[in-house]
């Protein structure tokens, strides 16, 4: 295969991943690495480099719209970014010592977990509970816009949320993904933030987390321009189009389609990793 043909196919695949990722709200970064390694037999390290770059592009592109809506809690974002960036640097350091087969197995498990979560409804919780004392000291409690004006909310489980964020950072660096699913889990389930606040703040953090490990991988030679350019442009244009078509409205069959893709890729990654084929 020539470089031109590979670039064209990667751009088409990445466009589809970005589009579906934006339409379903699951993010496209998750399927880029399996696509590159399983379909095109590209080395896992090059795939992770290209995927991380595309994650930064979609996160920063979408954040521009979110920030202006007033849902993002900048203090929570910055505070948790300490955990995710430390996690990302630790993950990038570990990546050199973990075999690609072990990474493939880990990737398969994360994909399966994402598919499982994609159909569970967001946690219905009260946002008026007495806050975690640590949240008061860190001034994390804030307000968010609702139809009836600005509504205050309090923050729970600061320590366990912070620890989960460290894991999100490690996974992001090891697998080249945004790990939005772990970030939302930490903020939605543990810290009990309003759903809109956790998703937008998570998006705010994804780009920063990915930038930490992308910098390290650039120096290690993981970022190959001939592969990163079609992937980055493909995912970005797909995600921007997806955000334009359906702002918020997520159709069930699209989610089913995307989840099916994720499950198939998960088993394929597990199989390749356990057999030692990657």
């Amino acid at each position: 295969m020539t470089i031109s043909l590979l670039a064209l196919l990667l751009a088409i695949g990445s466009f589809g991943a970005g589009l579906l990722g934006a339409l379903t709200g699951l993010g496209g970064g998750l399927v880029i690495v399996p696509m590159m390694t399983l379909l095109f037999h590209i080395d896992l390290r090059y795939a992770i480099g290209a995927s991380l770059v595309s994650v930064i592009a979609t996160s920063s592109g979408a954040a521009a719209a979110y920030v202006r809506e007033g849902f993002t809690n900048v203090r929570i974002g910055i505070f948790l970014e300490v955990a995710t960036t430390v996690g990302a640097l630790v993950g990038a350091a570990l990546a050199g010592f973990i075999s690609t087969n072990a990474l493939a197995v880990l990737f398969g498990l994360v994909l399966l977990y994402t598919a499982y979560r994609s159909f569970s409804a967001p946690d219905e919780h009260s946002t008026d509970l007495p806050p975690d004392p640590l949240a008061v000291r860190l001034r994390l409690n804030s307000t968010y816009p609702t139809a009836g004006g600005m509504r205050p909310y309090s923050v729970q489980g600061v320590k366990s949320g912070f620890s989960l964020m460290f894991i999100a950072g490690v996974l992001s660096a090891l697998l080249g993904i945004g790990s939005g699913i772990v970030k939302v889990l930490a903020m939605d389930r543990r810290m009990k933030l309003p759903f809109k606040v956790s998703t937008t703040t998570s998006n705010f953090m994804i780009g920063v987390t990915a930038a930490a490990s992308a910098g390290v991988y650039l120096h290690r030679g993981y970022i190959e321009p001939a592969l990163a350019f079609p992937v980055m442009l493909g995912v970005l244009s797909g995600a921007l189009l997806g955000a334009r078509i359906l702002a918020g409205a997520r159709t069930l069959w699209l989610r089913r389609l995307f989840t099916t893709v994720v499950v198939v890729l998960a088993f394929e990654m597990l199989y390749k990793g356990l057999r030692g084929g990657l």
Partner: protein
């Protein structure tokens, strides 16, 4: 989105104008990066598009395309791979710039706790990007 527009300053003295500027900066950064990557990518395809793709085994990028200074050098020599890499560098720098601007906002608000917290994040990011060690 039918949510009411937030007032310029909310109860915590949160300045939405700063957040608007940050949002705009992110958009501009991504657009500029995408443009540079596109130009470099087209040049790369013209120059070596008919070569056989061989990325099954990891060899690692050449030293000229790994560090910040080397990338800027090769991009200004008109090397297509260097130009793509410069665009990607711009993209990686966008979230870093966002953290730097957030730091500026906390400095204006004299929020010591968050000046400290944001500085930690910024140092970690610059450490990864400039020294490239983890």
């Amino acid at each position: 989105m039918s949510a009411p527009r937030p007032s310029p300053l909310n109860s915590e003295g949160h300045d939405y104008r700063v957040e608007q500027i940050i949002g705009r900066l992110l958009q501009l950064g991504v657009l500029a990066a995408a443009l540079v990557v596109l130009i470099g990518g087209v040049m790369l395809l013209i120059h070596s598009g008919s070569d056989v793709a061989a990325f099954q085994t990891f060899r690692g990028e050449s030293a000229a395309l790994r560090s910040v200074t080397a990338i800027i050098g090769s991009a200004f020599h008109g090397d297509s791979r260097g130009i793509v890499q410069l665009g990607l560098l711009l993209l990686i720098a966008t979230p870093v710039a966002r953290v730097a601007l957030t730091l500026g906002a906390f400095v204006i608000q004299r929020d010591r706790l968050y000046i400290f917290t944001t500085s930690i994040v910024l140092v970690l990011l610059l450490y990864g990007l400039i020294w490239g060690r983890a």
